[in-house]
Amino acid sequence: MSAPVSSAFAPQLSNVAAFGRWLNGTLASSYPDSDARFGLELAAVELFTNIVRHGRPRSAIRVVVRCAAQVAEIELIDDAAPCNMARLDGDLPADALSPAGRGIFLVRRMTDSFKYRRTMDGNTHTLSKRLA
């Protein structure tokens, strides 16, 4: 496994693209297949957006990326209030046009594993996916 790579992004929607580009570039050095990376980048971007919109953290969102030979793991760490676990579950609504839940659905659909942990200081969200 290569050494973890980390960064931090101010919790603003205007930073979503910068976060996504940074993550894609970080993953690309270990996983050259862009189609394989797409789903994990999407899941992480959806999660980042969710944290900003619903968690409203005070401080920057920290990101830690760990790349093993075949599996990539991404941690998003924030200091927001505890997540409403009911919001982290769920499938697509019956009405395909309804936006509700589409983001979290994609987080689950695009990853092999999605875990949430509440710590003393905030929340840790961990995504992992086999990319090779």
């Binding site: 693209a17 959806e46 957006t49 919109r53 395909a96």
Partner: protein, 108 residues
Amino acid sequence: MLRFSLHDEGDFRILTPDIERIDASNALAFRDACRSRLPRDSQVILDLSAVRFIDSSGLGALVSLLKHFTTGGEMRLVVPHPSVRALFEITRLDQVLSVHPSSELAAA
């Protein structure tokens, strides 16, 4: 700064944004920029050939755009990027949005 090219081809107005990503950082601006360029009763092909990434906010912007069009108006999407196009299927939006892998198929 969002850039677009716009031209007419047959019955269709072809709007081609020069944009690589549509996500929460720009989805609303993208939607509003498209709306301002497209009359509600026009038949439109929105060519997303440059787009290599879209998230749920971007998909929501496209759904919102669909609702912009009134009777006589229509929007078809060109989405050549396979991973982006697959998202429309995964979210079942291909059942409500007209999505095509090429502009030739979109115009057919």
